[in-house]
């Protein structure tokens, strides 16, 4: 075997192949917990049951969108008429084409999320604060589930409207320190109820 020849052959082979590729990257507004509650049109927990990328214009083929179907819905705010809910996110892959948006939120199949949704099927990413409005419901081996941010940090609570989190690999992360899905859901409902009461108060003030 002549490894030099093998390496050379590989290099020459690679030189023959030519590709065009594009990538998108973006920056976004950061939102606190109250803003997530207040600005969302819909707040729900749902499990990703399907995901399909499509060309926005099948003839022009310049922009790919991904349709994500959520099932096993638990709706906390807003109206969802059917048993599933469809989200539209910019970007996706239609082999051999791809339109990847760096830093864009990705929802994985079979994963359960709590989502704060706004302007679905209008906005490039229909989540309040983009990443801020997405939480992972992470099942635990011991039963139950804890909440994680989209980047994988463990949510340990909400203090002063700020979501407190610690890196999943942090040494300071004590077992069972993560906020439970039950507690998180309860907090959302409580904040929604508080917001509703506030609205009632304001309405009474107006003559």
């Amino acid at each position: 075997m002549n490894s030099y020849r093998v390496v050379n052959s590989l290099a020459v082979g690679l030189l023959v192949m030519v590709f065009n590729a594009s990538a998108w990257a973006f920056s976004s507004v950061s939102r606190d917990f109250n803003a997530l509650i207040e600005l969302a049109d819909i707040v729900l927990a749902g499990t990703v049951s399907a995901s399909q990328s499509k060309w926005r214009d099948p003839v022009e083929k310049s922009f790919i969108e991904t349709y994500v179907t959520l099932s096993e819905l638990e709706v906390y705010k807003g109206q969802v008429q059917s048993e599933t809910y469809e989200l539209r996110l910019a970007g996706g892959v239609i082999p051999p084409y791809s339109m990847r948006i760096s830093g864009s939120p990705k929802l994985n199949l079979s994963q359960r999320y709590v989502l704060f949704i706004k302007d679905n099927k209008q906005a490039i990413f229909p989540f309040v604060g983009v990443h801020d409005g997405i939480f992972i419901v992470q099942p635990q081996a011991s039963g139950g589930a804890i909440m994680k941010t989209l980047s994988g940090d463990v949510v340990i609570g909400v203090i002063d409207n700020s979501v407190s989190k610690i890196p999943a690999n942090s040494r300071s992360l004590a077992e069972n320190a993560g906020m439970s899905f039950t507690a998180f859901r309860q907090l959302i409902r409580q904040r929604l109820q508080d917001a509703s009461l506030d609205t009632d108060k304001n309405e009474k003030v107006v003559p």
């Binding site: 390496v7 030189l15 590729a21 973006f26 920056s27 209008q122 490039i124 229909p126 604060g129 983009v130």
Partner: protein, 285 residues
């Protein structure tokens, strides 16, 4: 044999010895993806011109200042203002453009503020950026939302966005432009590959508390990917002592150590081949 080793030894040694962390675009599986190790996809030329489709002040000056900030990093790249005329949504027209837009080519902005589209050409071992379009959100149709004006007290407190007295948001235009232009030269989000660093190039809320200037990590990233020669870069080299950093392995493929190991294996393979050849020589002669 020496020539073969000289080819691989730099691959093996170069990733160590840097002091900061960053991420960049690499080419993998026919795609441009974010990574903190590998050969960065960068501009092939030293000078890159942008059509700036923004004439209002202070926005135009903020864009020029952001170009200058990246030019002052010491990296071997220069961003300049070029001919006007191209629009940021005209992807694939060969012109680099920066513009304020009310929508993202048909979508509403939602909570996004800026977006950069990077196009690259990959030809065998060579991959380089061929066109960049930077879109920054225009708030002109949204009276409650706005970009901050110079001297805004909230911005002085290093907040990228805050709730204004009309209940909308006010955001930091210079920081968004600085961030997007980082993408325009090939840098990417360090937090997206598990790095925990202070950088304007972090994504979303991870950069919310950053001042509107490039950090040590941002500058190191620009310098590392724009050295005089195209080479393998490891954006995690300075992270060993930093808290919260995981292995550089990520969803986008192998990390720096994998590539180092590959180089090491190739060296060992060539050494073995060389030794075997030498052992055979007396027999042949």
């Amino acid at each position: 044999m020496k020539k073969r080793l000289l080819f691989f030894v730099p691959l093996f040694l170069l990733p160590w010895g840097k002091a900061s962390a960053f991420a960049f675009f690499v080419f993998s599986a026919n795609d441009l993806v974010v990574s903190d190790s590998g050969i960065p996809v960068i501009w092939p030329q030293q000078q890159v011109a942008f059509s700036i489709g923004v004439n209002q002040q202070p926005f135009k000056q903020d864009i020029l200042d952001a170009l200058t900030a990246w030019n002052n990093t010491g990296a071997n790249i220069e961003l300049i203002e070029g001919q006007s005329g191209s629009t940021p949504c005209a992807e694939g027209d060969g012109f680099n453009a920066i513009g304020l837009t009310l929508s993202i080519c048909g979508n509403s902005w939602g909570d996004a503020l800026g977006l950069t589209v990077v196009q690259a050409v990959i030809a065998g071992e060579e991959s380089y950026i061929s066109e960049v379009d930077v879109l920054v959100r225009s708030f002109s149709s949204e009276p409650t939302n706005s970009w901050a004006v110079p001297g805004d007290p909230e911005i002085r407190e290093n907040r990228s966005c805050y709730t204004n007295n009309q209940g909308g948001i006010t955001c930091d235009f210079p920081r968004v432009v600085l961030h997007e232009l980082g993408h325009a030269i090939g840098l990417n989000h360090p937090d997206e590959v598990g790095q925990n660093v202070s950088a304007v190039m972090n994504s979303g809320s991870a950069q919310a508390d950053m001042p509107r200037r490039l950090s040590v990590d941002d500058i190191a990233g620009a310098q590392a990917i724009y050295t005089s020669d195209r080479q393998l870069v490891d954006g995690t080299a300075g992270l060993a002592a930093k808290d919260g950093h995981q292995s550089s392995n990520n969803d986008y493929g192998g990390g720096g150590m994998d590539i180092n190991m590959l180089s090491l294996m190739l060296i060992l393979l060539l050494l073995f081949e060389n030794r075997r050849t030498r052992l055979k020589m007396p027999v042949n002669t």
